[in-house]
């Protein structure tokens, strides 16, 4: 059952990713991207990362994609149907880079095994399941987030503030 779902999500994710790259209209690219993000969220659920799946749908597929759509609408690019794929030397370069990246990644992932490079992977997965039962799926992430990683968490807040101010300043018309 899980394997079937995984294959389904993987096919939708890959198809969506191809759609992002090859579709002519930016709006279509964006909607393909939403399909990819949603199916990646489904794969997160299959790996028991329920909280991240929810965040992925809310923040990524919801907020960030709407931001993109809003900019496309604001700049009136929705009717831009000219194909803007590069051909010739550029596509050759693209395939060389893609091939090299795929090769490097395949080499890194080759000996991952079923338990992520580790002997005690299955035990860790069982411990995570147990913790999720006790503290809830959000609690498992929240506990280290607000203890060991609290400085990084606060810095994230600062980063978001800086990003908001920067976005307002950059997008404001000069006069």
């Amino acid at each position: 059952m899980i394997e079937v779902l995984f294959v389904l999500f993987a096919v939708v994710a890959l198809g969506g990713a191809f759609g992002v790259v090859i579709s002519k209209s930016p709006v279509a690219s964006l909607l393909f991207m939403v399909a990819t993000l949603a199916s990646v969220a489904g794969i997160y659920v299959l790996f028991e990362a329920h909280f991240l799946a929810a965040i992925q749908v809310l923040v990524y597929a919801g907020a960030i994609m709407v931001l993109f759509l809003f900019v496309i609408m604001l700049l009136n690019l929705g009717h831009d149907y000219r194909a803007d794929l590069r051909f010739g030397l550029w596509s050759l370069l693209a395939f060389v880079v893609a091939g090299l990246t795929a090769g490097v990644l395949a080499q890194g992932f080759m000996d991952v095994g079923d338990t992520g490079f580790r002997e005690d992977g299955a035990a860790i997965a069982a411990a995570l399941d147990e913790a999720a039962r006790e503290e809830g799926v959000a609690g498992v992430i929240a506990e280290p987030l607000f203890t060991d990683y609290v400085v990084a968490f606060e810095l994230m807040g600062l980063l978001l503030l800086v990003a908001i101010v920067a976005a307002v300043v950059l997008a404001k018309p000069r006069n």
Binding site: V21, A49, Y60, A102, G116
Partner: protein, 97 residues
């Protein structure tokens, strides 16, 4: 399933790389960068299942950075569009020789 998830993650990353190189529309290039970030997130989540919860925390941070990056990047695209009236990256050639 772990190996398959990592292969899927690699494939998504490679497609994102292809898109960044091949497309000319700045917004679509940006979408492809998000696709790459998402591919890395997928690898993080898949591996975190067997190595501890930290992987999911990093995904959380990556998502925050991606949100900040999207806001600033789109603001930059808007401000460039005001100047050039296009989002075709071939037209942004001030630093090109």
């Amino acid at each position: 399933m772990l190996t398959h998830a990592l292969i899927l993650s690699a494939a998504l990353f490679v497609i994102g790389t292809l898109g960044v190189i091949v497309r000319r529309n700045a917004i679509v290039i940006f979408l492809c960068i998000e696709l790459q970030l998402n591919a890395v997130n997928l690898a993080f989540v898949a591996l975190s299942r067997y190595t501890g919860i930290e992987g999911q925390l990093y995904v959380f941070f990556v998502m925050t950075v991606a949100a900040a990056e999207a806001a600033v990047g789109l603001a930059i695209i808007i401000s460039i569009f005001r100047h050039y009236e296009t989002v075709n990256v071939d037209k942004f050639n001030l630093l090109k020789w």
